[in-house]
């Protein structure tokens, strides 16, 4: 069974809005995923966190955001000024957000399914990420972009 048959953009939007309301200091506005992706490509820095789902469906859930948005999220979660955060704190915070999105996606899939720990990378990733994703949902946080991608395992970039 394909992940994309069970998880659509509406589901991701709902999960992400709950996440933003809980853990992000500013409200995320839904934008076309292509806009968020283009904005991420232009951003000076970006952070991508991915969790793998395996079992009844195989695939990945990724959360990418600009580095300033990642720092703002980390500052909120740690309760510290951005200047006091090291890079590990920022990647941990973005990784936890991906873990939460992935966990909520997993709960909607037929058992058995398991979720990997998040893998966080900084800097550009595969340039065709929007094209190969089976579901992509973009958000804007006062000019800072975020993108949630769901990929079926068969579509994951090599």
């Amino acid at each position: 069974m394909l992940l994309s048959e069970l998880i659509g953009p509406e589901t991701i939007e709902e999960i992400a809005h709950q996440l933003w309301a809980s853990l992000v200091p500013t409200e995320g506005v839904l934008v076309p995923s292509a806009c968020a992706l283009a904005h991420l490509h232009r951003a000076s820095g970006r952070i991508t966190a991915a969790v793998s789902i395996s079992g009844s469906c195989d695939g990945t859930v990724e959360l990418a955001c600009s580095e300033p948005l990642g720092r703002a999220i980390a500052a909120f979660m740690f309760g510290l000024p951005e200047a006091d955060l090291d890079e590990a704190a920022v990647t941990d915070a973005v990784g936890e957000l991906a873990n939460i999105v992935g966990g909520n996606v997993k709960s909607l899939l037929p058992p058995p399914t398991s979720l990997s720990i998040p893998i966080v990378t900084t800097g550009p990733t595969a340039s065709d990420e929007g094209r190969t994703a089976s579901c992509a949902v973009g958000f804007d946080f006062l000019g800072e972009p975020a993108l949630v991608l769901v990929r079926d395992a068969s579509l994951a970039p090599a």
């Binding site: 709950q18 996440l19 309301a21 809980s22 853990l23 980390a74 979660m77 740690f78 309760g79 510290l80 590990a88 704190a89 941990d92 915070a93 990784g95 936890e96 873990n99 939460i100 992935g102 966990g103 909520n104 997993k106 709960s107 058992p111 979720l115 720990i117």
Partner: protein, 134 residues
Amino acid sequence: MRALVVDDSRAMRALLTNILRGIGAEVVQATDGRDALEQLRRTDALPDLVLIDWHMPEMNGLELVKAVRKDPAWKPMTLMMVTTESEHENMVRALLAGADEYLIKPFTPDALLEKLNLLGVPVPEQALAAVTGG
């Protein structure tokens, strides 16, 4: 009130710690189930409340709940799962293993304080009023 926050994410530990310190709790942290058990065995001042993530390396949250509930001396501790694991079957497993409450991530601080209040954990009136609008 003393609390132990068990989560492999630094950011989530910090978030939960800040919320609990906001209601006057003394908070210590553990990075996984094994770390939590070691701290519980060493301490002279057991926590009143333990917040436990499910998916962690070394020892997961469900295993920690089972281990804690095996020791009668630890029975007074209130155990709350705070996790993305929201499958009904797993929630039941955790509660049957001895967890007292279950909170699914993402959560708001208000949701956590409401759960604590329901468990009888002392939450200052001012903080609770902010949650309930009272």
